[in-house]
């Protein structure tokens, strides 16, 4: 299991090769690369800055990688996540899972990226048309409202 949180870009080929090199029981390797899009919510995005919580981010990513290994018969799990300033077309995240069985690898990879894209401890500051704006997490707001209400009653 490998988890990296880094400012630098990553080399997809080198990262993926490291998962399978010398391992002859691996039938398949599923991976997903997330990239910065130039459009978000209809507005043009010129850049984005990802802030995170150093230390806690790594712990949370290791936790979800461990959960994937518990749910599926995986050989290896890899997560590489960038932070800092990123521009459209830049790579943000790579997640990958290898297994003797292709469906295990594919499902684990989908599970990882769904979690990473919605629940990983990152905050997005988007530059749209000159102005910098923190991206809202709308659905979580509603859930949160309920959560805080329950304990304040």
């Amino acid at each position: 299991m490998t988890v990296k949180v880094q400012r630098e870009d990553f080399d997809i080929g080198a990262e993926l090769d490291s998962l399978t090199e010398g391992r002859h029981g691996v039938g398949g390797l599923a991976s997903f690369v997330g990239l910065v899009r130039d459009i978000h919510g209809g507005a043009e995005v010129s850049a984005m800055t990802l802030e995170h919580y150093p230390g806690m981010t790594e712990r949370e990513l290791e936790r979800i990688a461990t959960e994937a290994k518990e749910r599926w018969p995986l050989d290896e799990v890899l997560i590489v996540h960038r932070y800092g300033r990123l521009e459209p077309g830049d790579r943000i995240v790579l997640c990958a899972a290898s297994s003797a069985h292709r469906h295990a690898a594919l499902e684990a990879c989908a599970f990882l990226i769904d979690w990473l894209k919605t629940k990983a401890p990152f905050w997005k500051l988007e530059a749209t048309g000159g102005a910098d704006k923190w991206v809202d997490a709308r659905e979580s707001d509603d859930e949160a409202a309920k959560r805080w209400r329950e304990t304040s009653g």
């Binding site: 919580y53 806690m56 990473l116 919605t118 401890p121 990152f122 905050w123 979580s140 805080w148 304990t151």
Partner: protein, 83 residues
């Protein structure tokens, strides 16, 4: 106790980190928020809407009723927006 702020909470409070020694009667996350709000108008404004404030105690997600006693690091941040 070290208190950390992230994203727009950091911007509104006006600092990324501070060291606080809360009074004896601060037992929970909710208590700590009330205490921090007394430190400055910026704190009061930033931490005012608890619907959009999340907390971690010693790097573990925490609920408003969770204990902060003995914690060495408490962080406040908006809901995550993912990678």
């Amino acid at each position: 106790m070290k208190v950390l702020y992230f994203a727009w909470l950091r911007e509104r409070v006006g600092m990324a980190e501070e060291t606080v020694t809360p009074p004896e009667d601060v037992a929970t996350v909710a208590d700590l928020i009330e205490h921090l709000k007394t430190r400055s108008p910026a704190h009061a404004e930033a931490l005012g809407d608890t619907r959009v404030v999340r907390c971690a105690v010693d790097q573990e997600h925490a609920q408003p009723g969770d204990s902060v006693r003995g914690a060495s690091e408490v962080a406040f941040f908006p809901p995550v927006t993912g990678g």
